[in-house]
């Protein structure tokens, strides 16, 4: 009795698996494509969801614009997005789902942690990716990977330069998340490039759900400049708890993780007496130019709650890929709609490594790329909020 039951269940399992394997073995997932398919994986839920949503919304917006304008020689684009919850172990399933869904080119991942997995999987299959926001230094090390954002090392270096120029011989504070690739990566480079005359008081946290930073604030309370290479959620909590303890004329200086801090529901940044600044390639408050256009279009379509530079960079990424494909076509390369991901990758690699330049983008007037995959553009210190009084 039991034997028969067990056998039946196990045999049905085998049947299921063999059925699974029977359908569509081998490559050629793009053969039936009627549009160019761009894939992206990002955190659409969880504590970094604001970034994933911004990227997906903005990429979709760029694609809609390109399609409305007739696509690439009449061929339209399509975006497929998957949710990785910023968890690297979810990535292999997402990646294969996108690949088997006909993905030809990718925006990679939104965040660094899953990106470390993505870069190698996509290298195996030779899929080109241009990530808007996975800032890890190791992300673009394979020839098929490029970044639209600044790498962590670069952000740390830039911040160190700023501190060296302005705080030589003084004491500054650093607050970082010791177990997160993004935060630790920036912090390490920051420290390595810092002038020895600058005194650093450093403090950190590690629990991803930590909300109580009383002790850390107490450590930094005499600092007038606090570098915080962390994401906006803990940063906003830190600032709220510190508002009466840190000196009111102090300055918080963050990296791209600060972006969106002025849009958090229930967090009133004007109640923070200290100045809040960040290093960025995107000015969400600019009065004119492509950045202004982007902000207007985005807020009209999706509202301001998820507006940040991750989205702006994703918007640029889609146009960069579109531009590079267009340029290759103009140079006589044939790009059919059902081109395989690998063939398209070779074309795009040649373009990006061969001095492809993007102009008039939202996140930079001129953008070029190293052959290594790092981006070259201007980063500026951008004031989110001045100190009160």
């Amino acid at each position: 009795m039991k034997l028969i039951k067990t056998t039946a269940i196990l045999l049905s399992l085998v049947l299921c698996l063999s059925l699974l394997s029977a359908c569509g073995a081998g490559g050629g997932y793009t053969a039936d494509n009627t549009e160019f398919v761009i894939g992206v994986s990002g955190p659409l839920t969880g504590s970094a969801a604001m970034y994933g949503q911004a990227v997906v919304n903005s990429a979709q917006m760029a694609i809609d614009e390109i399609n409305a304008a007739g696509g690439l020689n009449g061929i339209k684009f399509k975006l497929i997005s998957t949710d990785d919850m910023n968890d690297a172990s979810k990535l292999s399933a997402n990646y294969s789902a996108m690949l088997e869904g006909g993905m030809q080119v990718s925006l990679g991942t939104v965040t660094t942690q899953p990106g470390l997995e993505f870069k190698n999987l996509s290298f195996e299959d030779n899929v080109f990716f241009l990530t808007p926001s996975a800032t890890g230094d190791d992300i673009p090390t394979n020839p098929n990977g490029y970044q639209m954002c600044f790498a962590d090392g670069n952000q740390g270096k830039n911040a160190a330069q700023y501190v060296n120029e302005n705080f030589s011989g003084k004491t500054i504070g650093v607050f970082y998340k010791s177990d997160e690739a993004y935060s630790k990566g920036i912090f390490d480079q920051f420290k390595a490039n810092l002038d020895p005359s600058v005194q650093v008081i450093e403090t950190s946290f590690s629990d991803a759900n930590a909300t109580d930073f009383t002790t850390q604030i107490d450590t930094l309370k005499n600092c007038e400049f606090i570098f915080m290479p962390i994401y906006y959620t803990p940063a906003s909590l830190f600032m709220t708890q510190a508002k009466d303890i840190i000196k009111p004329n102090a300055t918080y200086y963050g990296c791209d993780g600060f972006d969106g801090i002025d849009n958090i529901e229930g967090f009133d940044i004007t109640a923070i007496p200290q100045a809040v600044t960040m290093l960025s390639h995107f000015n969400g408050k600019s009065e004119s130019g492509p950045a202004k256009d982007f902000v207007d279009k985005y807020t009209a379509k999706y509202g301001a709650a998820t507006l940040n530079q991750f989205g702006a960079a994703a918007y640029d990424c889609v146009y960069a890929i579109y531009g590079a494909m267009k340029k290759a076509m103009a140079e006589g390369t044939d790009i059919p709609v059902n081109i395989s991901a690998s063939d398209l990758c070779d074309i795009l690699k040649a373009q990006f490594a061969g001095g492809y330049t993007m102009t008039g983008a939202v996140t930079g007037a001129t953008i070029t790329w190293d052959a290594t995959g790092y981006v070259n553009k201007v980063a500026t210190k951008y004031v989110i909020k001045e100190a009160n009084g």
Binding site: K2, S92, L116
Partner: protein
């Protein structure tokens, strides 16, 4: 079916998994290229089965709760991955490196199992749960904050990925090894000692069973196989990131064991395969805040199944409407078959204390022996 001492029902899981491995393995070795999604799924299923079967040894057969299974897996993944990284330049990324990494990972996890087991297993069961939980957090925190040169720190450890077309074959061979070791242990006299401890520790002690030794044996073995799963994980991913091995993952493995039916190896195998498949499917179907429905499902599985199977008030209902009885009605009853005492274990309190004796006396528990009245 019984041929000599060979009972087919004892070997059915080896046979099915063996055939599956043989068929898919031969196809892969002769050049068939499967989809990535299938290959990744097979790897994950194999890892889950090893985890679920090894946890089942502790939870289902020893009757103790371990919430740090992912922590032992983490140790195996990092140690095995590190050893593999160091060996690949010398020995190449072949089966030999894999074997050495496997031994290193499983060994390290086993040592951790002993270190954790010695203080916790002497105490009441709840302590083991909380100590293993703490252990998982300690391990996660240590690897997360390690230096970049040792275990990669926050970026995670970069490990060599085994060729994806062949890794699943090794993975399923390891599933067979796991089954062979754990199933044979359970069916040996040592296994009977382990289940005796589960059913009544004091009685087992009184009849001369070395309780501490068997508890430690089962717990360490379980940790070692979690380490094996960890090494497989490091081989099936390019990076090992400790965030993966948190409390939630331990719970997921526990859900597999509970769903499969505690004390049932085949049940654990099926539940592990089902949940892993569901995870990959649901991840692409449920997006946004709906993704959490998956966790809700796990929570409900834990609550409903455990209450249904264990609540003293539901005993009559259970006896009437369980799957076994249903099947028994459909198929001719075989009187020669000795009734398994397995289903009964959960109604026997692990430790009988005063109030439990009282309740046992007041509520007649065993309706089956009504004939002796």
């Amino acid at each position: 079916m019984k041929i000599g001492n060979f009972k087919l029902r004892h070997y059915i899981n080896y046979i099915v998994i063996g055939i599956l491995t043989l068929v898919l393995g031969t196809m892969s070795l002769t050049g068939t290229r499967f989809d990535n999604s299938l290959l990744f799924l097979l790897e994950k299923v194999a890892i889950s089965i090893i985890l679920a079967v090894s946890l089942s040894l502790v939870v289902g057969f020893l009757g103790e709760l371990s919430l740090g299974h992912a922590g032992f897996m983490c140790v195996g993944a990092y140690l095995g991955g590190k050893v593999a990284t160091l060996l690949v330049p010398m020995l190449g990324n072949g089966p030999l490196t894999f074997l050495i990494a496997l031994i290193a990972g499983a060994g390290a996890a086993a040592i951790c199992g002993i270190i954790i087991g010695i203080p916790a297993l002497r105490l009441r069961g709840d302590y083991l749960a909380i100590v293993t939980l703490a252990f998982g957090e300690i391990v996660k925190s240590l690897f997360q904050n390690s230096s970049d040169d040792s275990f990669g720190g926050s970026l995670g450890l970069e490990t060599p990925r085994y060729d994806k077309h062949y890794l699943f074959i090794l993975a399923f061979l390891l599933v067979l090894v796991t089954l062979a070791v754990i199933q044979n242990l359970i069916r040996s006299k040592h296994g009977r000692a382990i289940t005796a401890i589960r059913d009544n520790e004091i009685a087992a002690l009184a009849s001369g069973t070395n309780v501490t030794k068997y508890k430690l044996l089962a717990f360490t073995l379980s940790a070692a196989f979690a380490g094996v799963a960890g090494v497989l994980y490091s081989y099936s991913n390019y990076t090992v990131q400790s965030a993966k091995f948190g409390y939630n993952y331990s719970i997921e493995i526990l859900v597999m064991v509970v769903l499969g039916g505690m004390g049932s190896i085949n049940g654990s195998i099926l539940a592990a395969a089902l949940i892993t498949w569901l995870n990959t499917k649901l991840a692409t179907v449920l997006t946004g805040d709906l993704a959490v429905l998956q966790n809700l499902l796990y929570a409900l599985i834990l609550i409903v199944i455990v209450i249904y199977n264990n609540a003293p008030a539901l005993k009559g209902f259970r006896d009437k409407y369980n799957l076994g009885a249903l099947a028994e009605k459909l198929i001719k009853h075989d009187p020669a078959r000795v009734k398994d005492d397995k289903a009964k274990w959960d109604v026997v309190p692990t430790k009988i204390s005063m109030d439990e004796i009282l309740s046992v006396d007041l509520v007649p528990q065993d309706h089956d022996q009504g004939g002796s009245k």
